[in-house]
Point group: D2
Chain length 380, copies 4
Amino acid sequence: MSISNVTSPVQLRAEEGPGQPVPTPELEELYRGFERELLVPLWTEIGDLMPLHPQSKARPHLWRWRHLLELADRAGQLVPVGRGGERRAIALANPGLGGKPYATPTLWAAIQYLMPGEDAPEHRHTQNAFRFVVEGEGVWTVVGRDPVPMNRGDFLPQAGWNWHAHHNATDRPMAWIDGLDIPFQYANESQFFEFGRDAISDAEKTTPQRSRSQRLWGHPGLRPVSQPGPRQGSPLLAYRWADTDAALTDQLELDHEGFPGVVEPGHAAVRYTNPSDAGDVLPTIRTEMHRVARGTQTTPTREVGSSVYQVFDGSGVVSVGDSSWSVTRGDLFVVPSWHSLSVKSEAGGSDSDSGALDLFRFSDAPVFEKLGLHRVETTA
Amino acid sequence: MSISNVTSPVQLRAEEGPGQPVPTPELEELYRGFERELLVPLWTEIGDLMPLHPQSKARPHLWRWRHLLELADRAGQLVPVGRGGERRAIALANPGLGGKPYATPTLWAAIQYLMPGEDAPEHRHTQNAFRFVVEGEGVWTVVGRDPVPMNRGDFLPQAGWNWHAHHNATDRPMAWIDGLDIPFQYANESQFFEFGRDAISDAEKTTPQRSRSQRLWGHPGLRPVSQPGPRQGSPLLAYRWADTDAALTDQLELDHEGFPGVVEPGHAAVRYTNPSDAGDVLPTIRTEMHRVARGTQTTPTREVGSSVYQVFDGSGVVSVGDSSWSVTRGDLFVVPSWHSLSVKSEAGGSDSDSGALDLFRFSDAPVFEKLGLHRVETTA
Amino acid sequence: MSISNVTSPVQLRAEEGPGQPVPTPELEELYRGFERELLVPLWTEIGDLMPLHPQSKARPHLWRWRHLLELADRAGQLVPVGRGGERRAIALANPGLGGKPYATPTLWAAIQYLMPGEDAPEHRHTQNAFRFVVEGEGVWTVVGRDPVPMNRGDFLPQAGWNWHAHHNATDRPMAWIDGLDIPFQYANESQFFEFGRDAISDAEKTTPQRSRSQRLWGHPGLRPVSQPGPRQGSPLLAYRWADTDAALTDQLELDHEGFPGVVEPGHAAVRYTNPSDAGDVLPTIRTEMHRVARGTQTTPTREVGSSVYQVFDGSGVVSVGDSSWSVTRGDLFVVPSWHSLSVKSEAGGSDSDSGALDLFRFSDAPVFEKLGLHRVETTA
Amino acid sequence: MSISNVTSPVQLRAEEGPGQPVPTPELEELYRGFERELLVPLWTEIGDLMPLHPQSKARPHLWRWRHLLELADRAGQLVPVGRGGERRAIALANPGLGGKPYATPTLWAAIQYLMPGEDAPEHRHTQNAFRFVVEGEGVWTVVGRDPVPMNRGDFLPQAGWNWHAHHNATDRPMAWIDGLDIPFQYANESQFFEFGRDAISDAEKTTPQRSRSQRLWGHPGLRPVSQPGPRQGSPLLAYRWADTDAALTDQLELDHEGFPGVVEPGHAAVRYTNPSDAGDVLPTIRTEMHRVARGTQTTPTREVGSSVYQVFDGSGVVSVGDSSWSVTRGDLFVVPSWHSLSVKSEAGGSDSDSGALDLFRFSDAPVFEKLGLHRVETTA
């Protein structure tokens, strides 16, 4: 086989440069030999392959929620949901990633939309997933036949290889965001997918206010004696907004009283955790909710790995690397690997308004922590 | 040194028996030689030392709460609380353990009593401890300067080496039970103790409804981003009854609806866990709350290690080994190692009464699990 | 920003197909809207993005050692080693991976070549690396200033972020293979690189037969009391062939005597492990040596993740997916994710020849095991 | 039940003292009430129960090997080995522990003796055990039907619940020491015991130079691919003296060359580890070999938990707490919890003699480390 069969071969050239050999006909001949044998030397590639620090292909970028919602609404009218297409989900395609539906090199982020009365069919996959609801209500996600309500502020993890479907029980459409590790599993070729039932049962179309998983696992510091060991992927299928809001409020009040708990002054944050092992809620994805009090600017920080944020409430200014945007509810933005992030909430606001900027975040940090590759640095 | 200097020496005798040598003058002389050199042969001791299964020195025993309370109340009048004595705590002394204040070979259980306005002085120790409140209110336990309210049904862990004091903020006495690993640490000689301040500050005598630890760690499935790693001993300093009760109610309702979650039909149970690692709330002590629905008998079960139970609510009949007692609120009983336990709640009861039997339990199971020595067996 | 700025955008088309919407002008308009907003729908991409099982972009492929060695030898004459180019390493470029120097989507494999008296300059990087010597001797790799000899059959791990250089102390060139997680870290954007000293000291140019790391960590079942905890990446810097050979010989003899230990009859295998935690020798890379006894065919097996093999000794036939090759000493081949592998050693051979086929293997399995994504299946 | 039924009751007395109530008739009456209800107050016991630091009941003590050996030899003539007595083992009885066969509160240490041609019958127990050979040879311990040779310097772990027997294949008696966690499991009531076959088979009476376990697990840094996970208790059944000696020699040479590795100058030490998880060789017992170079005095150190040492070679002076002894080959001594230990090897010695003092050590440290109770302190 000659290398000419290969897509986009690296055409080796004898170039001048630090540590490069002198171009000669013999060197050209050697490089042709490499190509014939499907070989590439390190010395011509090392600058790109082994940079001094991460050089993300992804770019900082902002997607406006109102644009996403308009397009999703239009898709609701034109595109059916059913077996084959599986979900009416529309993904963020980072402008640095060649038009692929990747928010970052490892993470998928999409708006999903379900019309009144619609169901999305059951399937399962090794990709780890979650839903987060920035506004709206009325859909129950049915996980392992357990109907789980979805309401504004709720975070719903969906660990790999669990059967799941969705059901809109109301007469109004509902949108939310999905986060998955599709790009990571695609690049690493670890993914499996299985179709389930085309329709869920009537028993699964009930609309309880609390899922069975919440009833078993949603009590603070308590676990069922019948379930003693760790489980891969959280057995708690929804983290309700009332709890998250209370935790953030408590942190800021402790900060105000002079006690520790916040990440930094005026900046509260909670991490969603798997109650069976206290680790990240999904094996490959970390999820958090941050609250930046009125008039606060967070310390610029960069870390290995990428994040996607969605503004849950409030407004402010976000700076990622050299980019900067004013953001408001629902807007999504990407922080590529080793790009500095700082967030500034609004200084003003009426008395009846908390003025806080609430940011939902997900990232690929668990991958790097488990493999000993994580680094964080404040860049102030 | 001759063995006669030694307390209670084993007087070796040349006895007949399986695997025993024939008694002769030479053998007697050998045994005298062993004694001189502070030696003991295995072959005469193996039956006691290495039994076929655990032969607990502890005995099943029941202590009546009303008797404990009367004596504690009397102690409140006669015995001051202060530096030196440290606590007005009165411990259960298992009748098999030689009069020592040991509920079991590893566990200490005591009733503690604090008079109106009294404080117990600050100290810390490596012994892991907890409080459980079967009735009453008005005391705040001050842990690391964080005042933690104590109310009926609350469970309050107190991991080793944390500073702590108690403060009765009301005009009524209050009693509760303490559980510690004093016998375990005493036998294994691992204990340290340090005196703290004789008096806590006014700021620590405030009476908040929620401790700072609860505000940081008491939200289900959420942890502060500022506190990412595991902590030895739970950072959550109180598990409130409302949560425990809801969790048990949920389990029995799931059971009633045909879904899994209970330990066995009619028998719900939750384990108190450390939210920083999802393991047992204390390194050496496991704690649980069990609810046995009206008219239910639990499957006889025995396990390695010992437990102490307190009836939190309801009444019923408890069988431990060959013993059996009718029990009611506050009563405490001991289950020695490898003794079978079965519990039967009352069958009748008025409609307004749930009829359930609620049992608080603590045991030394974490020790055996971590050392690979745990066994459980149903004996039905 | 319009999507036309983006490299290789996915041009969305309204196509017919299962689960696809009916093509209409309105749908085309919607898809144009997606492109403007940098969005891609799931329903057109799901078949590729979320396949039923891994569909590796990599292809099974074989590289002949004699060709690699000829080209490396020629590079030794034409290409200097020094700062900037760093190493005279020539990488396998899988024909399915677009000409990139990737053996598989996650793994780099290269032949490295050092001329008589040459040094490769010191550097460090987060990429995890190892060397394996199929033939030759005379180079010492200097890791953290500890000179480690490299001889036929030796395996030398080089965990991320350790300083290292190489020194050829002889008058003959030497070649070996390097394995790294460059593609994995490149895709996931976690890599850091730092230049060290241009020249190592005379003390580091000594040529001990045993490295200091081997003297500390190379004793079976023993560890220095001064080094009690786990270390990320093995502190043992060389696994010598004599030990590996003895372990494989022992396994086959146990098999012959009827005792367990081999992977399957006639197939012995050892895994190189980190003696500080008994896990894989590198956080992202698993390495093993397999010995297939004369006339044995291994059970076809496939697993998630990819492997690279080098024939260390013997000859036989290897089948990977639909490909099959006769292989001999030094040949390298790739097993892409979820491709079945079976190996057959030669049946004949002279009496003086063991006839066994020895295969060195490295894979990305630790990544998948740590993230809960590993699967293995025999496909017989 | 009245407390008079109880063995050795604590007779509570109204005493004067810090924190003690004023003795009055009412107080006496209260104390009588406690006794009736099987209760003991904390305030009279706290000084003993919760001391400022461990106050070991065990005493430092030395047993001379020549005395042990003489008595064991005499027992060899008078006491048969067989079912019921099980083993001809003679245990150290610490003079502070009431004549019980306990070297320390948690550890058993005994000399075991097997006459020419004798077998000790098969059994198994949850107690973790090991053998260490200070001199002699000729016995094979048969563990899980695998005959394991025992020679001078060999350390042979025997994790709980493995079947084992012993076989003397020679015409000479052999002695060695046994270490077990009998006192720990006795106090904590976790022990099970089961009788096996009275006689082992002829196949088990073979006398291989290497056990099957050594052939599978005795290769440095290598593990069988067929045995991927951790195992409770080491699967390696013998750690041979040649390896231990080489590791200690290497450490002292590295020290001499100016490189790290020793515990402190002139003091080398290795820990026996489980090759399946790199942790302690037994779940409850840590074992180490220390070598103190000629003319070296070790830094006084104390730690939580107790140790037993046997002099393997050389001679010197040992100081434990306030005791001090000259020791020589085979002598055994005890270091109680939180007692300072320092060892001094001989300064002189002939040129042909290394002059080093080799000390085998076992301790209960894993118990305390797993439960968060371990502390070490140098007391220089």
